[in-house]
Subunit: 384 residues, 2 copies
């Protein structure tokens, strides 16, 4: 990740919402706060706004870094998609006004299970409602309203973020001109739900989870979160990428015949697991995986995705990655077919990449060229 | 699984060994017991013996059922490969003398971590040495010695069992005429090691594991075992098999927006996890996964599998299954190539099956035909 043409110093902003939000589940949140960041300048007719939706562990800090990190460049907290978003980058902040937010239910500043419930003075914990992709899109639309954005030039995201981007075209067909759905799926496969269920069970059965109200016990279900993240990492990578990076390499050069770390891959997974468990909220993790499982626009139409996409008015770029076995190209092709069935304008790029599902976050020449070209065309719509 | 032409009532047998066994790790087991079963009749020149090696959660009870189960046919404890082994079945007990044993370190009767260590009067627990495939083959050879079997007509197994079968051809080239290596690999991929590591960590970090000495605490690391088995089940099945069997089916017909079981696949996985955790020993699970990770005959020859197989004298049948992504056909082809390089007689069957890694345990017409044909040829060597 190069910060050479970074957007530079950014700062987070906050917006409070006092209008109750009714969730798909029926639950109502009387008020909530969203944390967000913006990069670039909203043009006069507010036609150059792009919404970046985040995936499972993402947040509002998409690009740039914070002022307080400038003194310590090594520890600089650079946004999670800084290689994609910035001046002169594929999502060019010289042209676009880019909005990133932390989704409702998150743990990076927006109201979520770890936030204090004003009604009780205690963290929401288990009482925080399960959120769906539809709910997020509703909350994002309200944020757009407050920012005066009537229509996005584009809504985009990878993985769970791509689901939100697609949902925008269904919930608010007139409010989004382009959807960029990257490394995503019209619904999870059974296998994906199964992996999510194992991850959830690791957290739910951790004795430190306390039914979701661990905050009051002064503990964190670290073991469960760690296992969930380790498992996640395996499925985000490709078999080949893992083999290429770690092979059967041994830390000590030989077998030690015990249960300590032996293989390099074990060291990597445990490090990633420990790192994640130290900062991510367990309830948010659970909630995010459920949102993934629930997303299934075709289910409102007897399983017919063609019918589901009939409401869409946007133009689409769909991108998949050859070695992504969690959100396989086959699933993206299903999206493309249904869009074509509905005579949508759709571009599809199947990118050859060895990095599995994680590819969507990575600096990859062909991928970035495709994104840049598509976004340049969008920019020409309003800058011409 | 049909018991219509079952071998019928079988009983387990036990053999005690007083000659210390030195493990690859350097550890020494002064004495141990192996539990085993035999089916069919050893012929006069003892040339019709087949050794069936078991995989991760297998054991000595390969076929038939026990006398005490006859009163309760519904609860009948039928052997794990009863569809393959029996009179008139592919491994025909009218022709062969079939030997199945519970591997050392197991939890079904052979000496393992849950056995009492005579030196302390307490279960071995964490003090039981880690066992390798080579160690198992050594212990199996000693059992063969005691049964008067100088040479096996065939040694065979699926998955981890296939690794043992291959190792027989390397450790005791003159003692095995045929190796049937099914749904196996010359060594685990990085991804496989990664999955094993997550499963192990689920057990190792379970507060009830107590460093492997949970027996003395009167508890069992059920949570960890359950997670390990749930994860295992996902990887034993194919994506398609799971989709076909469970799809996105919901138990209640609609989302319930909580963390109870919602999808059918969750119900299946949790049931399998609970069932397994109720009877399997956590230390044995750990040890078995380590044996899988360690197996890598090429590692003694700078990674050159051709050199590793130079010692082999047996004829080979290698079988793989099209949807087995954990032990993919590609890995079996690597074995075949190295055997051909060494001018071994090798037959290879890549079976089209939707059932993933689990295919090797299932009744599948083509697969069983291949096995039957190959084994009939073996039988003709001594019955002609």
């Amino acid at each position: 990740m190069s910060a050479s043409n970074s957007i530079g110093i950014v700062s987070e902003q906050r917006m409070n919402f006092d209008t109750p939000l009714q969730f798909q589940s029926g639950a109502v949140l009387p008020r909530y706060e969203l944390v967000y960041e913006t990069y670039g300048t909203l043009n006069a007719d507010k036609s150059n706004a792009i919404l970046v939706c985040h995936a499972l562990s993402g947040h509002h800090h998409v690009a740039g870094y914070y002022a307080e990190d400038e003194k310590n460049p090594k520890e600089k907290n650079i946004g999670w998609w800084d290689n994609m978003v910035g001046p002169g980058k594929p999502i060019d902040t010289n042209k676009f006004f880019v909005l990133g937010l932390n989704n409702l239910g998150g743990c990076n500043g927006s109201t979520g299970p770890s936030s204090i419930n004003p009604a009780t003075g205690q963290p929401f914990g288990a009482s925080f409602p399960l959120v769906t992709v539809e709910d997020w899109v509703e909350s994002q639309a309200r944020l757009a309203d407050r920012l005066g954005i009537k229509q996005f030039a584009a809504v985009l995201g990878g993985s769970l973020g791509g689901m939100q981007a697609m949902q925008w075209s269904l919930s608010f067909p007139e409010r989004v001109r382009h959807v960029l759905a990257i490394a995503t799926a019209p619904r999870l496969t059974t296998e994906n739900i199964a992996f999510n269920d194992v991850a959830r069970n690791a957290i739910l059965t951790d004795p430190d989870f306390h039914g979701g109200n661990f905050y009051q016990h002064g503990v964190v279900p670290t073991r469960g979160l760690r296992l969930a993240r380790m498992l996640g990492h395996i499925t985000y990578l490709s078999d080949d990428a893992m083999a290429g990076k770690f092979g059967r390499g041994l830390r000590a050069g030989k077998y030690s015949y015990n249960y300590d770390i032996e293989f390099e891959i074990e060291s990597y997974l445990r490090y990633q697991g420990d790192k994640f468990a130290a900062y991510f909220d367990a309830n948010t993790y659970l909630l995010m995986t459920k949102a993934l499982d629930y997303f299934d626009p075709a289910s409102n139409f007897g399983g017919d995705l063609n019918q589901a996409f009939a409401a869409a008015r946007a133009n689409f770029l769909v991108v998949s990655f050859s070695t992504d076995w969690r959100f396989a190209p086959e699933l993206s092709r299903t999206i493309v077919k249904s869009l074509l069935h509905n005579r949508r304008n759709v571009s599809y790029a199947e990118i050859s990449s060895t990095h599995g599902h994680d590819s969507f976050l990575m600096q990859h020449e062909h991928y970035h060229k495709v994104m840049r070209a598509y976004l340049n065309n969008i920019a020409s719509e309003f800058s011409a």
